[in-house]
Amino acid sequence: MTGFLKEFAESRMAAACLALSLLFAACALFAPFIAPMNPYDLRAFSLDDARLPPGSRQVEKGGLFRATLSAREGAAEESEGAATFRLVEEAPGRLLLTVETEGTLGALRILGLPRDASVEGARRHPIRSEWTLADPTAPAAIETGAMTPAVLNLTVEAELPATATDTRFALGTDSYGRDMLSAIIYGIRISFIVGAIGAVGSMAVGSALGLAAAWFGGRVDAAIMRLAGFQLSIPSLMVGLLTLTILGKGVDKILIAIILIQWTVFARTTRSVALAELRSDYVDAARGLRLSAVRINLRHILPNCLPPLLVILTINIASAITLEASLSFLGVGLPLTQPSLGMLIANGYEYMFSNLYWIAIFPGIALMLMVVSINVVGDRLRDMFNPQLKR
């Protein structure tokens, strides 16, 4: 094993790509522990942070104090946490509201006023009865209109100013205020897992069919290989699009599409290696020992087919990831609840021209790095298993 790794690392590039691939694999496995935020947790992000460029700090809303007051005897006082609300009937039909807090207020809102009431120096919400003071530090003067102040029930919201926190969005945020880095890590998780399971599934299906073709020969062989040839003549994205259009979105459907596309390569390779192995005496020996065909194929022949299959597996993980990303980008892949890298790129794509480059570019870079590094690892394995290239 160490000898193998040493030989592998003779190519620096391959060693670096192996490290990178392992990093991506770790991202896939441990995303919840690595990602700074959980992009699925609606409480973890807020629209206040939407579309921040890379490196921005997360803002934290100031504390909110809320009280309901009624100036029944001409004055009222209410305490809520560190804030004290005072309401005084300064003149008939005119109330004066003061709020005392530690530090200055960031915002002051008055809710629940009747239609004809008004607040000096404040803006009314276009629909709701909500007045926002322009200067939250000064006392607010309220004209109560036709209603006597004594029956008025006011709700007052006092908010401390927002502060920038130490949390930074290293790769910016998307249009929902989600941390892009976390979204990418979770995206890698989905892309990588779908790619790996898809390729491993293809290997299982493909090598089983390849073994059957080699073992039975004749018509079985011809039928399986014709099917593979037919399959290979259709572009893989086309097969994927067709499958998902017919079956609909979903992880399981994507996996079916990947297996439909990739089984052929595994079947062909397994068949050709198995045909060579079948000529070996050890297969005759196993048959002479009356071992079952299933046992001979799975325990004797298949292990001898594994080295080339592992090379193809590595490369096909990369191409399954690409395929899934393409399909998700086109909108037929994964559902919205499972945002893979392809979907992140698709989401960010609409902001490309409004200068919000980071929403699409960073998932794109992550996808590219992952696919390229896995491919380099696969190529290196292929070189190592190919005796003709060895010194």
Binding site: D281, D284, A286, L289, R290, R299, P303
Partner: protein
Amino acid sequence: MTSVPMIAAHELSKVFPLERGLWSALSRKLSGRPPRRVQAVDRVSFEVAPGETVGIVGESGCGKSTLAKMLAGLSGTNGGELLLRGRPLAEVMSDPRQALKVQMIFQDPQSSLNARMKVVDIVGEAPVVHGLIPRAEKEARVRAMLERVGLGPEALHRYPHQFSGGQRQRIGIARALAVEPELLICDESVAALDVSVQAQIINLLMELRRDLGLTMLFISHDLSVIRHICDRVIVMYLGRAVEIAPTDALFADPRHPYTRMLLAGMPRISTERRAFLEVAGEIPSPLAPPAGCHFHPRCQFRTEECLAQRPPLDPVDARRSAACLRWREIG
């Protein structure tokens, strides 16, 4: 031979078609030529008694391996009858326990062991699968088998590539012995080995034959080996058995011209060099064997008759027979 023969082959044949598929079938139909095929084994009849060691000799391509594989149930027959201990081969092969009684030792120690399996699995798999021993006794059985073939218990958990050719051949023998065979078919089992190692393996096989009462079929190019270990010899030429005789009689008084040529090519005194078969003349193509007696183009005794008719395997005396029209005049 009073007891039931271990093997009784009657007119056993094997044909390999060389053309398959629609296209060649069509072109054959259009041109009207017969399909190309190889008659690898051509109506061979013989018997082997229990406990006997019978050698099969003949030039490369004469069908020795094909015959061996038919006897071991590894390839089907195309005509003829084959009885193992008096029961038809198909019947024997349908009962796994009985089928295990015939085992083969192969030529190439490299390819006859699965490179990705440990010795303990190579040798111990079949006995466990067939319920000859419980799984828990697998290691003990393999250790006993290895000891039997002269390997230590340290071999148990190694892979085939960690052994020399001779050791690998011993592992192959242990694998066969582990399922308690009665008939051992050795197809050129020592041909790929060093001369000194050859002798060790042959001695091992002889020991096992004696201790376990094995019946053996020993295929070899090497006449001196055959002479050394076999009770009887079958000489094959282009798929046919041309002479069957006890070893002493065959070497002292060969009755088929082909056997005579084989023996003439053999060094008188056993030297360090291997005594490979050397026969004058070209071996005819098995695709288009000569008519009549296949050997006639190379035969100094041939007559008009030899070109026209296949010579039957005639009994020379009680224990030997030769397929030559003129065996009486030869020798």
